[in-house]
Amino acid sequence: MDMDVSVQQAKAVEIKGVSKVFGGYQALKPVTFDIRENEFFTLLGPSGCGKTTLLRMIAGFEQPTTGAILLRGAEMKDLPPHKRRVNTVFQSYALFPHMTLEQNIAFGLENLGWAKDRRAARVADMLRLVHMEKFAGRKPQQLSGGQRQRIALARALAPEPEVLLLDEPLSALDLKLRQAMRDELRTLQRQTGITFVFVTHDQEEALDMSDRICVLGDGEIQQLGTPADIYEEPSNRFVADFIGETNFLEVDVLSVEGDEATVSTPLGMTLSAAQKRVSGGGRGWMSIRPEKISLPARPGEIAVDGTIEGANYLGGYTHYVVDTGAVKLRVSKRNNVSRSRMFETGQPITVSFAAESVRILGA
């Protein structure tokens, strides 16, 4: 059992003060973090946040401007991509069009000097792993997007890399396939036990698949933690805004005591709630997620009066906009009873939320 814990905590990749400047433009400010062995690690952020640059530096396609990248403790500087035990699943898949699927998967093994028998066995295993054994002799052009995705995975996994890098591999697929591939990726990661470093701008994908998520914004780390940490305890406004939906209310911070802040809200009441990076006496932001607001109000919670301004029916959920006079609140209500009563536009209503669901964030 102790062994397992130590394996869990072993570092697959260490990023130490790594930054990148492209011709005067700072794509990535110095960042430091570790990626653990056997984990599904996600780099999440909007486009231009530096996540792909970071991935390309791990792969060796770009050199860090400052800092060091260590792979299983070994410094990667000066090591060209073809000497790093890291494989990449490219956004465009980058399957070799002049080779059959078998040849594509065998390519890396040949370059590593695997013997022919061992190579053939591994290729067959990989095709089976991604359920593509019937297609071995085909060329990539003859496959659908999802099939190409699977072959790209098989090709990258075949040489048993220390770390598998995935550069927005699902972005080219349609919605349904994307959902299915998420589950498949997660299963593959568990089966192979290989460390996955997954780059995406899709927060839902990140929450669904990751063991840990590193949220990048404006070229720096905004927060690093488990999906639940990041969703429930966002460390700043950027993270709360980027991950999921939330209501931001500008508040006056009255006092700060440890992890709690007391604020005066535009809703007319004063409340105390968990805080992050708030200094007393200034302005701050109160964040409350739409699904954490009760409609209609529940007893024992903080009640707010307002009127329904709009409703969007989304099947499983209905999204309401409630006008409280001072601010408009977005409220998400699960339709947990079939044909349950909808609230009408213009209808006066009281909503409520618990102080425990509120987060106070620095300005």
Binding site: P81, H82, K83, S92, L95, P97, F107, G108, Q142, P159
Partner: protein, 299 residues
């Protein structure tokens, strides 16, 4: 191709101008050459429309005094020599053009445009002038000979001019842009992610070149080779100006028959054989690649 059936008539009318131009500038002249190649040589040159296959026989046989045919390989030797020279030119062009095209494709867009423009620049100058300039470069008092002498590397080297080497240099110089352009186009189409994927999968630079870049640039290299090889077969200027007219090439042979030898039917027959050989080769290639595509589509 996918036009509605009702448009078929309009397609014919729309294509008519192009077809008329083809007819006037290609089909009729080739028809005349075919006709001439089957006619009889006139007593004072020229030709008479009397059907005979004699010109074709003359390519391989001498006609003896009593009309018996005697095998004579003189023209075959010219054909073989021309083929070898054209193949050598194509090969050297390939070797030089690929790195050049690759270098150009790696430049920034503005530089790329400039370099491609420079590659095509010689086409703006008359071919004769360009080939002539090599006489100055290669001649006994030319840049190369003078430099080598000044450096004391050679005392008295034989003239480079009027040799097969000079001819080869001239041909490579004349036709290399036709190799660079299609190869450049095929490298430009190459997805850079494929090169990265090869490196990512432990492929060294050499492996990547051999197994990914070269195979994917094959169409460009094939197109360039055809564009260089075919005009080399009929090259006239370089053998005269740089080869000194000492070695006979097919182009010169044909020119000679129409000119000094005044044997138009033989000249026409050699032209037709040359054209037919090229056509058969290209057709064979074309069919082969179509068949390969079909096989892949069916797989």
């Amino acid at each position: 191709m996918s036009a509605a059936p009702g448009n078929a008539r309009w397609n014919v009318i729309g294509l008519l101008p192009a077809q008329l131009i083809m007819l006037a500038t290609l089909i009729i002249p080739v028809g005349i050459i075919v006709l001439v190649s089957f006619s009889t040589r006139g007593p004072y040159g020229g030709f008479e429309y009397v059907f005979t296959t004699a010109p074709y026989k003359q390519i391989l046989f001498n006609e003896g005094w009593s009309g018996e045919l005697e095998f004579n390989p003189q023209y075959l030797i010219v054909v073989a020599r021309t083929m070898i020279l054209a193949a050598a030119t194509t090969f050297i062009c390939l070797l030089l053009a690929f790195p050049a095209a690759y270098y150009i494709s790696l430049r920034k867009p503005a530089m790329k445009m400039l370099l491609i423009y420079l590659v095509t620049l010689p086409f703006w100058v008359s071919m004769i002038v360009r080939v002539y300039s090599w006489i100055i470069i290669l001649g006994n008092d030319g840049v190369i000979a003078k430099t080598l002498r000044a450096l004391g590397l050679v005392d008295n080297m034989g003239s480079l001019l009027f040799t097969d080497t000079a001819m080869l240099i001239g041909l490579v110089y004349s036709y290399i842009p036709l190799m660079i352009l299609p190869i450049f186009a095929s490298i430009e189409k190459l997805d850079p992610a494929l090169v990265e994927a090869s490196h990512d999968l432990y492929g060294s630079r050499l492996t990547t070149l051999r197994r990914v870049i070269l195979p994917l640039c094959r169409p460009g290299m094939v197109a360039g080779s055809i564009l260089v090889f075919v005009p080399c077969l009929g090259a006239v200027l370089e053998p005269i100006l740089l080869g000194g007219g000492k070695t006979m090439m097919m182009g010169n042979l044909i020119q000679l028959q129409f000119g000094a030898a005044r044997n138009w039917p033989l000249g026409a027959a050699i032209s037709i054989v040359l054209m037919a050989a090229v056509l058969v080769f290209l057709l064979w290639r074309g069919l082969r690649s179509i068949r390969r595509e079909e096989a892949e589509a069916a797989a």
